[in-house]
């Protein structure tokens, strides 16, 4: 079932014909009310697309400048009906090969399809992958940088990365489907449900001058700004084809450099204390910590679709900071706290999990004792 929450002059129904008129291009974002959707809507609007987003109707879609359609993406028939004739369909809701079945019939009915996959599909050279690599000994080891040629998790393996790898294979098995599969890494942006940069932002806002980082702050895990991801989506829309592309911020900063960017933007002094090895209990345990570097290459995106990074990491984080400070202020004004902005962080780590200030203070005091 589909319901349109906002009337438009021309109803959003498939016509079976793509538009040659740039002013008449239509983009549909499936699952478009999250962080990727917000960024993609803005980028596509700016580029002249007429944009619609679908969502399940479970939450307020927020101030999106798009037509809002309430639709469960698992309803293949309904999805096909609204997608038909779109110049671009972006799907953020696919996780497994069976999810691909709803998109495959779009071959010949849409100009370009972009599906958000993940860097978690990659198989480390040591045979492990992110779904199972939870500690120092099992963390996957990758070459630096990781290209799209890196092997992926084999078929039929359960888990987030395994499911996405199967999804990719299912989509690419259909040779007439013009699908661009994008593999982001640690996504960040306004409306993020789990903004990893919040680890540093909150500390800076709390005036915490000292930060303790494992691996001397040198570990690197690629980040993906939703603004840059949106730029890549646009590039793929303008060059329909069948491809897999990494989707990361090109800087590939270390955790120390990320901390420095955040603190500089917030104009707070920073003193970094490096632990030589991995985290020590609660100390040095950042959400971007990686026993082995995971840095992805964007060369293929540049070469195949002429991708150009839209914003620097610092510019992207400035947008993150603007959004999160406003969102947290709103939550606090309503009697809540930052946990209301990031309930999934709290559900997994508790209110102090990312911020064990007392433990850190004792450790820092011990340095001076």
């Amino acid at each position: 079932m589909i319901s349109a929450m906002k009337q438009s002059p021309r109803p959003w129904t498939g016509t079976g014909r793509f538009s040659a008129d740039l002013a008449d291009r239509r983009a549909l974002i499936v699952g478009g009310t999250g962080q990727i959707g917000h960024a993609a809507v803005d980028a596509l609007n700016a580029s002249g697309f007429r944009v619609a987003v679908t969502h399940r109707g479970l939450r307020d879609p927020g101030g999106l400048d798009a037509e809002i359609l309430v639709l469960d993406s698992a309803d293949d028939r309904a999805l096909r009906a609204v997608a038909r004739g779109s110049d671009l369909v972006v799907d953020t809701t696919c996780f497994t090969a069976s999810d691909a079945q709803g998109l495959i019939p779009l071959a010949g009915e849409v100009g370009s399809l972009v599906v958000i996959s993940t860097g978690s599909v990659y198989l480390g050279d040591n045979g492990t992958y992110f779904d199972i690599g939870r500690d120092e000994s099992t963390y996957p080891v990758f070459p630096v940088p990781v290209t799209e040629e890196q092997p992926t998790i084999p078929p039929g393996v359960d888990g987030y990365g395994g499911g996405k790898a199967d999804l990719e294979r299912a989509l690419l098995a259909r040779e007439d489907l013009p699908v661009s599969i994008l593999r982001p890494a640690a996504i960040h942006g306004p409306y993020s449900p789990r903004l990893r940069e919040w680890y540093f932002i909150k500390r800076a806002l709390d005036g915490r001058r000292h930060i303790i980082l494992s691996r001397n702050g040198e570990s690197r895990f690629s980040t993906t700004s939703t603004l840059n991801l949106a730029a890549l989506i646009l590039a793929c829309a303008q060059t329909p084809g069948r491809r897999i592309l990494n989707a990361v911020d090109e800087e590939g900063l270390s955790t120390r450099q990320i901390a420095e960017v955040v603190y500089r933007l917030l104009d707070v002094s920073l003193e970094v204390h490096g632990l030589p090895g991995g985290p020590d209990g609660e100390l040095g345990r950042t959400p971007l910590d990686a026993p082995h570097d995971f840095v992805c290459s964007m060369d293929r995106a540049k070469h195949e679709v002429g991708y150009q990074q839209a914003v620097s990491y610092a510019e992207a984080v400035a947008a993150d900071i603007e959004w999160v400070t406003s969102a947290v202020a709103e939550a606090e004004a309503a009697g809540g706290n930052w946990g209301d902005v990031f309930p999934s962080i709290v559900a997994r780590s508790g209110l102090e999990g990312w911020f064990p200030y007392q433990v850190e203070d004792r450790w820092i005091e011990s340095l001076h004792a």
Binding site: R134, T138, R285, G350
Partner: protein
């Protein structure tokens, strides 16, 4: 736990010299007479000695769960019976599960380092005799005998800080696959959330704090049903867990404990102080399976879940998946059997 481990190890025999307050399993050799009178003590002593003699001739290995001994009258931290068994080619395994090996003095030092109370410091509040030098000496001797004579030792290195010098294997729990349960549909728009707390020993589990938290949150306007189970049979507890949405387990320990495992296996969203960052013997990623909650965080974290009920079901699901992977018979049992088989082969 004796019963569950017995089920996991083919051709094993379970022995119990003391009736359990909460569980009603049968054992292969069981002394059920209770009481501290002289006659009972003598009969128990004979029972233990005879059982030891028989096993010495039959078993390839004996696993001692806790600090129990066959020769109940001796005060030698099991040195004689360990020596006896080893002389007969029987492997000795020590499986320490908490108060048996834990040193309150060492845990007090940990409290001084971290600034937070822990289970060891609470023990002394509950039972002051555990804070005496004589008690520490007894723990020292128990650890020393195990270090010298046990072929394998299982313990929890931080939650059960002790005088053991040898590297120990992590303890785990073993929960029957068929006992996993709890209908996930109970999380779909429940009429009223059910919060359960079932402390075996209220002073150690943080019950007083839990009661204050419940009162405070109700005063704040949160509406939920609070069920406190004390001194009830385990069968009743397990029934309640299948209905519960949130479980307030224990808030001083670094590992889940048996009730924590039962709650996870029932798919409940569990709040407890078990923390892989404090207890390195917990598998990596464990902190995702429950909401790590120290005794001073109960209010904030329970308030959080009541404010964000959409997080409760997924948290319960993660906990259940963790329990399947780490404590179910089908997963954990095989790992234990391998360790023991390698020991006696």
């Amino acid at each position: 736990m004796v019963h569950h481990i017995g089920r996991l190890i083919p051709d094993s025999r379970t022995v119990s010299l003391w009736p359990h307050p909460f569980y009603d399993f049968g054992y292969d050799a069981e002394f059920t007479r209770s009481g501290g009178d002289a006659t009972t003590r003598i009969i128990r002593g004979l029972f233990g000695a005879l059982t030891l003699g028989r096993l010495g001739g039959q078993a390839r290995g004996v696993m001692f769960l806790g600090q129990q001994s066959f020769l109940v009258g001796r005060r030698d931290a099991r040195e004689f019976e360990f020596t006896f068994l080893k002389r007969h080619g029987v492997a000795v395994v020590c499986y320490f599960v908490g108060t048996d090996i834990r040193s309150p003095a060492l845990m007090a030092k940990l409290r001084d380092e971290t600034g937070y109370e822990n289970l060891g410091t609470r023990l002394v509040v509950d039972e002051p005799s555990m804070g005496t030098p004589a008690y520490e000496d007894a723990k020292r001797r128990l650890a020393d005998v195990a270090d010298r004579l046990a072929d394998e030792i299982f313990s929890a290195s931080m939650d059960q800080l002790s005088y053991l010098r040898r590297r120990t294997r992590p303890i785990t729990y073993f929960f029957p696959d068929e006992s996993f349960g709890g209908d996930v549909s109970r999380f779909n728009s429940p009429e009223r959330l059910i919060v359960v707390h079932a402390p075996s020993k209220p002073v150690l589990k943080g019950t007083a704090l839990v009661r204050e938290v419940v009162q405070q949150l109700r005063a704040e306007g949160f509406d939920f049903e609070y069920r406190e189970l004390i001194g009830v049979p385990n069968s009743v507890v397990r029934e309640q867990l299948r209905e519960a949405h949130i479980v307030l387990n224990q808030f001083y320990a670094f590992i889940p404990g048996v009730f924590g495992i039962e709650a996870l296996a029932s798919g409940c969203a569990v709040l407890m102080s078990a923390d892989e960052h404090l207890e390195p013997d917990l598998p990596a990623g464990s902190n995702d399976a429950w909401l790590v909650t120290r005794y001073d965080q109960i209010t904030d974290h329970l308030r959080f879940l009541l404010t964000h009920p959409e997080q409760i079901g997924p948290l319960g699901q993660r906990g259940k998946e963790w329990a399947v992977e780490n404590v179910s018979f089908s997963h954990a049992g095989g790992r234990l059997r391998k360790i023991l088989d390698d020991l006696v082969s």
